[in-house]
Amino acid sequence: MSEAAIRVENLRKIYTIGEREAGMRAALRSLVRRRTREVAAVSGISFRVAPGEIVGFLGPNGAGKTTTLKMLSGLLYPTSGTVDVLGHDPWRRDKAYLRQITLVMGQRNQLGWDIPTLDSLELNRAIYGIPQAEYRRTLDELTELLDLDPLLRKPVRNLSLGERMKCETAAALLHRPRVLFLDEPTLGLDVTAQRRIRAFIAEYNRRYEATVLLTSHYMADVEALCRRVIVIHHGQLLFDGELADLVSRFSPHKTVVVELEDEGADLRPYGEVVAREGGRATLRVPKAETASVTGRILANLAVIDLTVEDPPIEEVIEQVFNQDAGQEGGREAEQPAAVLA
């Protein structure tokens, strides 16, 4: 892991924000004396990402994901801790560094609103100093991968959101960055457009061995792209490891789906009945009891079919987010290296 593309150690970011009570009196008082409060957006996280890896960066709103991505891309400087991306200190924003990275933030546009995308791409070519031949080649590839051909010559303001995001993505990747910070790259897109962007990110990663750190609220993005996920909450690292491990570690339940001959059989003694339709029932069973419960069901009831599944990933994530940082998660955070190894 010595050749990490991204190395983050003990990273902290504390914002000082002004605050005051509501109302006229408080407003007047704040004219004389401003009260400020310190808020830790990121409080001491460490992780490494290997070159060519795609890592999902998960957490509820306000967990510190965007703050971290901004520190990694050089827009924010850390309160303490160290960040190293491709051997650069991001906050110095060396031109050599900026030419190798990209940050896509939701719907923040870097495309000129009034001009066709092609003009904005041409501008990026000049700004990034991309040689003409390479520009042509990359543009052809992006056009093919993202199906941009019908869009490039239309003014951006006439594009739909999905079309615009495809064009934004092209503009963000024209200089073939080696590290991609993608903050909600599929936000607000319909399922087809999401799938398209997702497939594109996977293909870009494969083709250029680019390192990708991606946040998304769509679990489909994460499941499709990321074997490894990092979960942060309240600015702290809750989990760093394979997506599959996240599920087994954080979900205290298994889902047992059972199909019975006797539609009226009482399943309540075996677990929480989540759904029931005729002879088919879905039970939520504590993980530790899964074996004994299935044994009892098979022994006591006439079973046509029985399967044991992990709960859907959304449910697990929700469970992770709902717990307080520093409790069970605190222990997880101390051993990410072991999970990684």
Partner: protein
């Protein structure tokens, strides 16, 4: 260097395409720019007539020449960077600029120059129409005409650099309108926009010459009107150069501090 020139060429191209989308807005902006000096011109010509044909060495033709040249100089040197900066920072549009491997000032400079060049298409006929209507008295010596262009270029550079620097107040203050207002009032009185500086009391003239304002607008205007001696012209160039250097130094310092501030409080 080649890369920078290439970037400028691309900025020019996209900016021309963008500006031409808003022809109506362009014309409305220009009406404002033309109207302001015309109002002053009418007022001062009336004052001159009622006080025996002349005020402070300017007769009707003199005022006409002054305000028509002023209109051109003001048009070619003004910037809208104050509003641009405030908008950028409030709307979070500054971060994308910071992520590009090029200083954002280049984009602003290219945008400004492009706008000036495009609007000349309207400014030139407007100037001719005003000249026909108000009959300016303009007979500058040849050396003054030659000196006018560099003086104009330096005036633009000074105004652009200084206003870009002041606009960075937006990093610290959310509403920079108050700061802008103070600057614009000083500019109105001390740059010669309201009236030729010769009409003001001596202490205001001294203030205008000590501060950068005179060198941003009045100096090239007076030069083209043939009201300055060669020695005055040299002093003017020296003042412009000194203020440009000072402003550049200030710009570098404020930029560094501004970026530090921006990246501390949350980009």
């Amino acid at each position: 260097m080649n890369r920078l020139l290439d970037a400028y060429r691309a900025y020019f191209k996209t900016q021309i395409a963008t500006q031409l989308q808003y022809r109506a807005a362009l014309v409305i902006w220009l009406i404002g720019l033309v109207l302001e000096p015309v109002i002053y011109l009418v007022v001062w010509t009336t004052v001159a007539r009622s006080s025996g044909g002349e005020v402070g060495g300017y007769d009707a033709g003199g005022f006409a020449a002054y305000f028509i040249v002023l209109m051109l100089v003001n048009h070619l040197t003004f910037t809208w960077i104050f509003w641009e900066y405030e908008w950028r920072i409030r709307q979070g549009m500054f971060s994308p600029l910071l992520l590009r491997p090029i200083h954002p000032i280049h984009k602003d400079l290219a945008d400004n120059v492009t706008y000036k060049l495009i609007t000349l298409i309207v400014m030139v006929p407007a100037t001719v129409a005003l000249a026909l209507a108000f009959r300016p008295a303009l007979q500058p010596p040849a050396w003054a005409v030659a000196a006018f262009l560099p003086a104009l270029a330096l005036a633009f550079a000074l105004r652009f650099i200084l206003e870009w620097t002041l606009a960075m107040a937006a990093f610290w203050v959310t509403r920079v309108a108050a700061i802008n207002q103070m600057y614009f009032i000083a500019l109105l009185f001390l740059s010669g926009r309201l009236a030729p500086l010769e009409l003001f009391p001596a202490w205001i003239r001294a203030l205008a010459a000590t501060l950068p304002f005179r060198w941003m607008i009045a100096f090239p205007v007076e030069l083209l009107l043939g009201r300055l001696s060669p020695a005055d012209a040299l002093i003017g160039f020296a003042a412009q150069a000194a203020w440009i250097l000072l402003s550049l130094g200030l710009l570098a310092v404020v930029w560094r501090a501004g970026i530090r501030r921006y990246s501390a409080v949350g980009a």
